[in-house]
């Protein structure tokens, strides 16, 4: 237990250094464009642009941290939040890896498996994008062909269908309430599809409430 705590502390120490270095590097990108090209846009331009995205994105960021940090563990969280594409790639990838390795999320075993899965996923994503950009002239017609479009339009249904089989089938009593709520909500208000991230904690809240109720009644 003590060793576990000290490893987590060490991971936080290492994670903070990498994250803060990464933060400085990312801020240096627009700053370096400014320095090299003397391109310093008026502050009003940036603020007007931010006004369109900050209210939603910053809210989603808070929600994602609260929801995904417990799932991904220490190392997985630092890596996942820096390399991005959390919902459509890193979180399902980590969940699948923990399930396959029979490691429980929130435990140290789950934590190391999640970190390895997210790290490999980040490396493969980097390699695929790099190869794609470098070989673009050869592959562009193929990957942008209308024939393949439905496949890329349906990544999320193709991903969450199998995940549902794994998790919902094992915990259908807990899953029923949030699932029914979400299906009815999206049918009634389809426009919410564009802000599904905001609804993740709503689903989680309903699932936690249902789980608590069933647990208290001894039904799970």
């Amino acid at each position: 237990m003590k060793e576990n705590k000290s490893f987590r502390d060490y991971e936080h120490f290492v994670g903070r250094i990498w994250m803060l270095t990464g933060l400085v590097l990312l801020l240096a990108v627009p700053a370096s464009i400014g320095v090299v090209y003397s391109a310093w846009p008026p502050l009003a331009w940036i603020l007007k642009g931010l006004l369109g995205v900050v209210p939603i994105y910053w809210t989603i960021a808070v929600i994602e941290v609260l929801t995904y940090v417990p799932m991904l563990g220490t190392g997985g969280s630092y890596l996942g939040f820096f390399t991005g594409n959390l919902t459509s790639l890193k979180v399902p990838c980590a969940l699948n890896a923990m399930e396959a390795a029979k490691a429980e999320p929130g435990t140290e075993e789950g934590e190391v498996i999640s970190t390895i899965a997210i790290g490999v996923s980040a490396l493969v994503t980097t390699a695929v994008i790099a190869a794609g950009v470098l070989l673009l002239s050869q592959i562009r017609d193929f990957i942008e062909s209308p024939l393949l479009q439905p496949a890329f339009d349906n990544i999320l249904p193709a991903l969450f269908g199998p995940l549902a089989v794994v998790y919902v089938s094992k915990n259908w009593k807990i899953a029923a309430a949030p699932l029914i709520f979400m299906i009815v909500l999206f049918i009634c208000v389809p426009a919410l599809a564009s802000s599904v991230g905001v609804l993740v904690p709503v689903g989680a809240g309903i699932a936690i409430g249902a789980a608590r109720l069933l647990y208290k009644k001894g039904l799970v």
Binding site: M19, I33, P41, Y78, T83, N96, V112, T125, F152, A158
Partner: protein, 245 residues
């Protein structure tokens, strides 16, 4: 405004190279740290290798989708900036609207290549600052969130386990619900549901192979197989639906 800026210039590619190298180094560092710890915890190398291979296979299709996002944004921002943005923090669902918001705030749109350095820099600032909180919140609050979870587990291990399960189910429910957002649009709107059902069916088929035929290896690759299979089946499903209309 008379200066011309090429978003595909060597300097921008140099900037991307630095960030990509950082992403690779960070990933390798964390993998090495977790691998070493896993060995100490008694997790076998075979399990760790399977985890890595399965994660790699699982990632390919979504990564190609991210590449499509890079290509889409490259029409207005060149390749380096979208490449950089979609390799770190962001996702297309964030980056494209952030770029569009920044451009429209200045009276531009993303239909043509941005050649004005100030406009380009403004878009780069908005894309960077728009999604930066996650990078600050994890170092600041990550440990507190984890400690809360540890306390919860220490008080009641079973409830701690159920709490985690409920968190997953909440996330999965939201995305499963989203699949139904288009069903009121007619038969075409049911395509995501059909694809989800087909991919779920493939997952069940994998489970049958694992349990009945004892294909143990399939257990580790069932999700990538089902996801890729579902994506592949979306092509005949879409064609079938279109012929029925």
């Amino acid at each position: 405004m008379s200066r011309i800026f090429d978003p595909n210039n060597a300097f921008m590619y140099g900037v991307v190279a630095v960030i990509i190298l950082f992403v690779i180094s960070m990933s390798v560092r964390f993998i090495a740290m977790a691998w070493k710890r896993a060995k100490k915890l008694g997790i076998s190398s075979a399990v760790l290798r399977k985890t890595a291979v399965s994660a790699a296979i699982f990632t390919i299709a979504p990564a190609v989708s991210i590449l499509l996002g890079v290509i889409a944004l490259s029409k207005s921002l060149g390749f380096p900036l979208p490449w950089l943005r979609l390799s770190v923090i962001g996702a297309l669902t964030y980056e494209a609207p952030a770029a569009a918001s920044a451009a429209s705030a200045i009276g531009y749109d993303l239909s043509r290549l941005i050649l004005d350095p100030e406009v380009f820099a403004s878009i780069a600032w908005v894309m960077t600052l728009g999604i930066i909180p996650g990078m600050i919140l994890v170092p600041v609050f990550g440990k507190k969130i984890e400690n809360g979870l540890i306390r919860l587990r220490a008080r009641d291990a079973r409830w701690g386990q159920l709490f985690m399960t409920a968190l997953f189910l909440g996330m999965i429910s939201a995305f499963l619900g989203m699949v139904f957002a288009t069903v009121t649009e007619g038969l075409t709107g049911w395509i995501p549901f059909f694809v989800m059902t087909a991919a779920a069916g493939l997952m069940c088929l994998c489970a049958v192979f694992v349990k009945v035929l004892k294909w143990k290896w399939m257990e580790d690759y069932a999700l990538p197989i089902s996801m890729l299979g579902g994506m592949a089946l979306s092509l005949p499903i879409t064609n079938l639906v279109n012929t029925l209309l």
